[in-house]
């Protein structure tokens, strides 16, 4: 199959599923048909995205559609997250929404809307990940807001509409900043590049990054970070996040937190690579460090005082995104690797918890932790998984988040940020306290009289169990292909940082016979590409002088 076809199939699946769901809604077909359309769409998306990731893994970078579409090691990591989390939340949605339908919380018509926008949302996020066109990247981020706003306001209550409005206004405005940053980069690139037509493609601009104007790039990164940072949920632009996450249906909350925030983060990383190549990494890294640390600090204290379970989880997303930003800000191969790993780990953990909170909502009809008591007795399996997930999110071993948090700490020490690391560890302790408080309040204790005992069926518990298994696996032994994927992503972010790449390379060389031929070739390809790019740009720098 040629690359372009792969991209088209990948993008067409969610789009067609969305159209099919909307058609079903218009025709008024029964629930079973709608569910079938949704399940088929989710499953196909999982398979094709994993296939695409595998292709990148084997062949290296993919470019298609006159440079418009692009997948490399970095974006395929995010694509893998999208495929897996999309599938898991998709399965969970069936159980969850059926239950809501039977309770009369939503009508069959809104169920069609839900499934339609669910896949449309996935499509827009897919577009963000695969886009190589800077303007399209921005437009796709904007489109994610528009497509998910209806999911947030699905219940149509006063509070959910309010959340949707805040979401749409804050994010569109934020992303308008992103547009401004995009325009600055694009305009500057178009002026200085030999072929202005190529100035719109990320991969092309990167090759000529050293020609860009320094002061404009400083300005551009500020705009980009504020703009897409709004979407990533970095403090102080995070105001929409707790509202939207808490009011959305739980599977949507999971999707927002585990995939959407990452997509926006991916765009920030793309610009950080570009602008670091133009003006050196100090400025982008410094900004990321400051915003990240502030996010962690503010979110840690807000986690501690929340009464609403889903708001608490939403602040935890702010905290984790901040942590990733800090890891990126620390930089170096270890810091970036930690950031990549944490992105993946956080997605798994947060999906588990948001789906778990969905079970709580279905059981108790509220998210108020003062009313939700004794989940462990009401639904032992959900309760145990929820508690385990919360501990994992607090950074307890043997779960995966411990590993990436520890790596961040190590990277920080290595880079000489001793006080920053101590502060970070203190803040993470506060976060742990907040999460344990949530377990104590909701999972433990006596069950209230008006809540019946028992689980809600496999569709709402199996996804949680699968996630838990994945988290323990990722915490104890990261599978070899995934390690390679993470390394490829790291190499791309390092972009030509010779010292960093050779450090990573050294790490790779030391692998005791674990890498077989194919993997090694793939990695070497990536390494070589990166090295070539680096020498290319340095050569240009010289010629300019």
């Amino acid at each position: 199959m040629d690359t372009f076809t792969l991209f088209i199939i990948l993008l067409a699946i969610p789009l067609l599923t969305a159209l099919a769901a909307f058609t079903c809604q218009l025709l008024g077909t029964p629930r079973a048909v709608l569910t079938a359309v949704h399940s088929v769409g989710s499953t196909l998306l999982l398979l094709v995205s994993l296939f695409a990731v595998w292709t990148v893994y084997q062949q290296g970078e993919l470019l298609a559609g006159h440079n418009w579409l692009h997948l490399d090691g970095l974006s395929s990591l995010f694509l893998a997250i999208l495929g897996v989390i999309g599938f898991i939340t998709g399965i969970y949605s069936i159980g969850y929404m059926n239950h809501e339908l039977e309770e009369g919380e939503v009508s069959l018509k809104s169920l069609g809307t839900y499934y339609g926008f669910f896949h449309l949302f996935l499509f827009t996020m897919l577009l963000v990940i695969t886009s190589n066109n800077l303007i399209l990247m921005w437009a796709a981020i904007e489109a994610t807001t528009l497509s998910s706003a209806f999911l947030v306001g699905l219940y149509g209550q006063q509070s959910s509409l309010e959340a949707a409005w805040k979401y749409i206004i804050i994010c569109t405005v934020g992303v308008a900043f992103g547009l401004y940053g995009t325009v600055l980069v694009y305009a500057n690139a178009a002026n200085v590049m030999p072929n202005p037509g190529d100035a719109i493609f990320w991969s092309e601009v990167l090759k000529h990054a050293s020609l860009l104007d320094s002061s404009l790039m400083h300005l551009a990164f500020i705009f980009v970070l504020i703009g897409f940072g709004t979407k990533t949920g970095l403090f102080p632009m995070h105001a929409w996040l707790p509202d939207a996450h808490s009011e959305a249906p739980s599977p949507t909350s999971a999707l927002l937190s585990a995939v959407l925030l990452n997509c926006a983060l991916l765009v920030i990383i793309r610009y950080a690579i570009l602008i670091s190549a133009a003006i050196g990494p100090e400025f982008p890294q410094g900004l990321l460090l400051v915003f990240g640390l502030l996010s962690v600090a503010v979110a840690a204290f807000l986690i501690l005082v929340q009464r609403d379970m889903k708001r608490l989880l939403a602040y935890s997303s702010v905290e984790n995104m901040g942590l990733i930003a800090v890891a990126l800000g620390i930089g170096g191969p270890l810091g970036i690797f930690a950031a990549m790993l944490h992105t993946l780990n956080h997605s798994l953990g947060k999906t588990l918890l948001f789906c778990g909170s969905g079970n709580v909502l279905l059981k108790y009809g509220t998210r108020d932790m003062n009313a939700v008591k004794g989940l462990l007795r009401v639904a032992p399996l959900s309760g145990a998984l929820f508690a385990g997930g919360a501990l994992a999110l607090g950074g307890m071993p043997p779960f995966n988040l411990f590993l990436s948090e520890f790596m961040t700490v190590t990277a920080g020490i290595r880079a000489g940020h001793l006080w920053l690391v101590l502060l970070l560890l203190a803040l993470l302790t506060i976060v742990l306290a907040g999460l344990v408080r949530m377990i104590v309040m909701s999972v433990l204790g006596k069950q209230p009289d008006n809540v019946s005992k028992g689980e809600l069926g496999w569709q709402t518990t199996a996804p949680l169990a699968v996630l838990m298994v994945l988290m323990v696996l990722m915490g104890t032994h990261i599978p070899q292909p995934l390690q390679q994927l993470l390394k490829q992503a790291t190499t791309i972010v390092l972009n030509g940082d010779q010292a960093g790449i050779s450090e990573l390379h050294a790490l790779e060389q030391q692998l005791p016979g674990a890498t077989n031929g194919a993997e090694k070739t793939a990695l070497n390809t990536v390494l070589n590409t990166a090295t070539n790019t680096a020498s290319h740009s340095s050569a240009q720098e010289m010629s300019r002088e």
């Binding site: 290595r414 560890l425 030391q510």
Partner: protein
């Protein structure tokens, strides 16, 4: 050897998973069986170590790239302490089978799957921690024990116990920051997590790594200023207190400190001085806090704090190149584990039989429940360090090593005298309570006491014997 070690560490985790999946009535049987298997595994490991002529081995187990993430170290210290924590885990789970039943007068309650599963995970984590050859492995199990202790201390789910559990978790987690720092620092400077790499560090780096480890150790071993979680943690079911707060969790701190000292040929003097001074201060504080206590468990908690200070004292002194002090410290960990568990389990047996553990209400133990009377007596003597009980054989070399060091380090003298006074005073205080509670006519509570189940009696008996002979085992094993 690798297989045995791996099995010993993993069996409890597998057992915990099984318990989580099986119905409640099998939980206690499964827990005891798997704990027994782990104990046998640890015994086998120790024997094969002995059989190999006591040659120390390090087995790398799991690496990322060239960096060793986890491995086992099998030497005289790890096998000794590993055996103590796992075998006590088995004894505690056996004891729990009798204790956590509806017949219990203080807490009539059948032990749930959660209890037994967490206990097993704890045993597994302790086995892993003692055998770990990397600081990352230590950190991993350090955190797991913290998480389990939270679940076990808050087991009864009363608001007070949950608060205490959270306190224990948070305080030990703050302490773990030290270990995080030490691990990251070690990796940043040497590119490895292996504990033996500490020896390669420069003095300034050593100061950071040891400082971090000492801080973490203080937190887990409930030393000033991170001691406040331990007395509150007495809300836990008594077998849990016995295991966590006498045998295992509090020993994590001193063990990682001992392991770090072993791995490094020289230790910065500042660490030794700070360790000695803080140990003496904590010791005095622990003793002063004995005085107002009426609840037997709270008394034992403060006694544990003071006893752990002795271990810190011994280990810190060993940094001044005193092999004897080091051996005394390690033997102290071993001996104290058995003696203090006995003491806690006697307290538990009193709760079970009489429904109270308030000392003023207990009188005439020897007459109504001779086993408990003897157990109380043995435990008190062992803790106070009266020969021929095991406490004596770890306290004596401690002081001997300390006084021989005073020639070089005169400032140790006053501190050692303070420790000696504390030792005598705590003996006197324990004797006072012994006199009030053990002899004489039974108080109403003891007169109406119900008989103990066989499993609890058996465990008490084993521990009484161990309180006598453990020092012999330790001394022979270490030399």
């Amino acid at each position: 050897m690798e297989t045995i070690a791996l099995a010993t560490m993993l069996l409890p985790f597998i057992g915990a998973l099984l318990i989580a999946l099986s119905p409640q009535r099998y939980a206690k049987v499964l827990c005891t069986a798997f704990a027994l298997l782990a104990t046998l595994g640890m015994g086998w490991l120790a024997l094969s170590y002995l059989g190999s002529g006591k040659t120390d081995v390090t087995i790398p187990l799991y690496s990322f790239g060239h960096t060793q993430i986890f491995g086992f170290v099998i030497d005289r210290v790890s096998t000794l302490i590993g055996f103590a924590v796992v075998s006590l885990g088995f004894l505690i789970s056996l004891y729990s089978c009798g204790y956590l039943t509806a017949l219990n007068r203080e807490h009539p309650h059948d032990g749930s799957n959660r209890y037994y599963a967490l206990l097993l995970i704890f045993i597994g984590a302790m086995a892993g921690l003692t055998l770990s050859s990397t600081i990352l492995g230590q950190l991993l199990f350090f955190e797991i024990t913290g998480g389990c202790s939270w679940g076990l201390i808050g087991y009864y789910q009363s608001p007070k116990s949950l608060r205490s559990a959270l306190k224990a978790l948070i305080v030990t987690h703050i302490a773990s920051v030290g270990l995080y720092l030490a691990a990251a620092w070690l990796f940043a400077k040497t590119g490895t997590f292996e504990l033996t790499a500490i020896a390669q560090l420069s003095d300034a780096d050593k100061l950071v790594v040891f400082g971090g480890i000492l801080f973490a150790a203080w937190g887990k071993s409930a030393q000033l200023p991170l001691h406040m979680w331990l007395p509150d943690a007495m809300e836990a079911p008594t077998p849990v207190s016995a295991y966590l707060h006498a045998a295992s969790m509090v020993k994590v701190g001193v063990y990682i400190f001992a392991r770090a000292i072993m791995s490094s040929d020289t230790v910065p003097h500042q660490i030794g001085v700070v360790g000695v001074v803080m140990a003496t201060i904590t010791m005095v504080y622990g003793f002063l806090m004995y005085l107002p206590q009426k609840d037997m468990k709270r008394l034992l908690a403060y006694s544990t704090i003071a006893q752990l200070s002795y271990i810190f004292l011994a280990l810190s002194m060993s940094t001044f190149n005193s092999e004897m002090a080091f051996d005394a410290g390690v033997a102290y960990i071993f001996n104290h584990a058995y003696a203090k568990s006995l003491f806690f389990l006697v307290a538990g047996a009193l709760s079970y039989a009489c429904g109270t553990r308030m000392l003023p209400k207990l009188r005439g133990m020897l007459k109504s429940m001779p086993l408990l009377g003897i157990g109380f007596c043995v435990a008190a003597m062992a803790i106070a360090g009266v020969p021929p009980f095991n406490g004596f054989f770890s306290k004596f070399p401690l002081f001997a090593a300390g006084f021989s060091l005073t020639g070089e380090h005169w400032w140790l003298m006053p501190l050692l005298i303070v420790a000696l006074i504390e030792s005598v005073a705590s003996f006197a205080w324990l004797l006072m309570w012994f006199g009030r509670t053990v002899p004489g006519e039974p108080s109403p509570e003891l007169a109406s006491a119900q008989p103990l189940p066989l499993s609890m009696k058996l465990v008490l008996l084993v521990l009484i014997v161990m309180s006598l002979v453990s020092s012999v085992i330790a001394a022979n094993w270490l030399n």
